[in-house]
Amino acid sequence: MSLIETNNIWKTYEMGAVQVHALRGISIEINKGDYIAIMGPSGSGKSTLMNLVGCLDTPSKGEYYFNGSRVSQMEEDELAMIRNKEIGFVFQTFNLMPRATAFHNVELPLIYNGTSKEEREKKTLKALEAVDLADRMTHRPNELSGGQRQRVAIARALVNEPSLILADEPTGNLDTKTGLEIMQLFSRLHKEGNTIIIVTHERDVATYADRILFIRDGRIEKDEIVSRNEKKANGTDI
């Protein structure tokens, strides 16, 4: 069974009297363990697609199945449960709680699903270790570098052991070197069995993935398997 299956989904916004179709019938299938990049110019609808896939929003039309359950008809709180347990978000601007320590930022998703304190501590530490930041757990975001902040965000995404990691321009606010480190971290996480979707407009970033979906004007323009030659080093063989 595929992890993600969308069946002709549309997203339409009402802008006054005008209807704007951000997505015009997208059908994709993503399996467990896949590493996918979604590419497209700005305004192509790639962020809208990411929001739908990430259960932050529901489609105007069409069906969306996540892990076999029909997400397209779900209520806000059911979506919140899926976001909490099944999806880990990584954002371009990190989206950390500015006043909270790295530890608390990573712990937060566990609080919302009622995990006990001891269990929370164990899982949070494990996630921070996975991104090599266990020694920075008492630091606040403003005491961390951009790369470290993004790693905290990745630890937060990992902490509930989600079925899917969804990264929206994860290197967009980082310099090239730090961006490279983050992409290598994603490659490692993929090797460890995580399913990853990265939204980007840079081909350099996209080629870390195994497969690239090109979006333009709300439609899938091209579905490309990244060739062996182009494929970027995946963490171990730099």
């Binding site: 932050l56 929003d57 919140a80 976001r83 347990k85 978000f89 950390l96 937060l108 609080i111 919302y112």
Partner: protein, 407 residues
């Protein structure tokens, strides 16, 4: 478990915005403390008046020229009445079979009391018949009260309250000593038990002298004459009052179609009037001070609205990692509740203290009002919930995508 975690988040957010929290608290503190101050002061006032009236006792009433005056009109009408006469006492004793004790009493305030070099001014001197001690709630402490005989023979004897004892006879046993009332010598024969002060009025700052002695020194009491009557029992009070009324109307030749030209005072009647007054005070003052409370609530709501808008992105982040609507709702509701309840508790403390200060300034007796505390807590919780729910709902209902893209 999760409630507690969310509560901690709310408390944390308030701690971070310390200045804002303090200002919000201030709004509630002012509102709650003014309501509590007023309620406790009014409670104290009422209790004091009640204890003041208790000396009358439930089976006692007083017939006077004026009675209880409720309006200017009544007051001017009552001024024209003829004074009560001493002979009514005998008439009531003979004609009222529901009455057990009847005593005439008058008083003078314009007095100067002396014992050697000690001097007191404006002491209440009551000229009463010998049996007044059995009618009103004054108990014998030491010595004795004066007798019927002493009254009729106009002896200069005095029965004093404990304040007179303390201030005029420090370190001296007053019994057998002579004090001077407006330069006329009286022998002290007894001391009352301490009653304590109430309503700014020291009940022990009093001297009782025989009625006829009083008349001899101060002249006829005229409008000042009061006739104290004790009925058989509490149940007999209405009958006794009716009998006294009939006797007085006959004696004063009041035509059957005219109103009484005298007044009857019972503790209950005075209390009823006072209740009316304090009820108005309560409604008016509490009403005015609750405006402060509403303003406090509006401050909370205003601050919470700003806070929700300012933290839109935070709300988006929380939602993206799985916070449900009720989690967000609860967090913001906790924030306004902590502020309103916290402000409420501080306000209650300040209010109780202020109430006590007010009361001690006015020399009342007072016990802290549980009612005021319950009211304060209920109101502040109510304010927090009422004014906090809308901002919290606004936060909870935000769409995650929109909230996340908020700049």
């Amino acid at each position: 478990m999760i409630f507690w975690e969310i509560f901690k988040m709310a408390a944390n957010a308030l701690r971070i915005n310390r200045m804002r929290t303090i200002l919000t608290l201030l709004g509630v503190i002012i509102g709650v403390s003014s309501v509590i101050t007023i309620i406790s002061a009014l409670d104290g006032l009422e209790q004091s008046i009640k204890s003041e009236l208790e000396f009358l006792g439930p089976s006692t009433f007083i017939a006077t020229k004026m009675g209880i005056i409720m309006s200017d009109e009544d007051f001017f009408e009552a001024l024209k009445r003829k004074p009560l006469k001493y002979e009514y006492v005998k008439a009531i004793e003979e004609g009222c079979d529901k009455c057990v004790k009847v005593a005439a009493s008058s008083n003078a305030f314009n007095t100067e009391i002396k014992y050697r070099n000690n001097k007191l001014r404006n002491v209440l001197v009551r000229g009463s018949e010998y049996n007044i001690i059995e009618i009103i709630d004054f108990e014998l402490g030491q010595g004795r009260f004066f007798t019927h005989e002493e009254d009729l023979t106009r002896r200069r004897v005095a029965f004093i309250g404990t304040t007179i004892q303390d201030e005029l006879f420090p370190g001296v046993d007053p019994i057998g000593k002579s004090l001077k009332i407006n330069n006329i010598k009286y022998k002290v024969i007894g001391i009352a038990k301490k009653k304590g002060s109430s309503f700014g009025n020291d009940a022990d700052r009093v001297i009782f002298i025989p009625y006829h002695t009083f008349v001899k020194q101060f002249g006829h009491p005229r409008g000042r004459l009061a006739i104290f009557v004790k009925a058989n029992s509490v149940e007999d009070v209405p009958d006794a009052m009716d009998q006294v009324r009939v006797i007085l109307r006959a004696r004063r030749h009041v035509p059957y179609d005219k109103k009484d030209d005298f007044g009857m005072v019972t503790a209950d009647a005075v209390m009823a009037v006072l209740n009316d007054i304090t009820r108005f005070l309560r409604l008016g003052l509490v009403g005015i001070s609750s405006i402060a409370l509403i303003v406090g609530g509006i401050i909370i709501m205003n601050i919470m609205m700003v806070s929700v808008t300012e933290r839109t992105r935070e709300i988006g982040i929380r939602k993206s990692i799985g916070a449900r609507q009720k989690d967000i709702l609860l967090q913001f509701l906790y924030e306004s509740l902590i502020q309103s309840l916290g402000g409420g508790l501080i306000g209650i403390a300040i209010g109780v203290i202020l109430g006590k200060v007010l009361i001690s300034l006015m020399n009342f007796n007072m016990t802290p009002s549980v009612f005021a505390i319950v009211v304060g807590l209920t109101i502040s919780t109510g304010v927090g919930l009422f004014f906090g729910i809308y901002p919290a709902m606004k936060a909870a209902k935000m769409q995650p995508v929109k909230a996340l893209s908020f700049e």
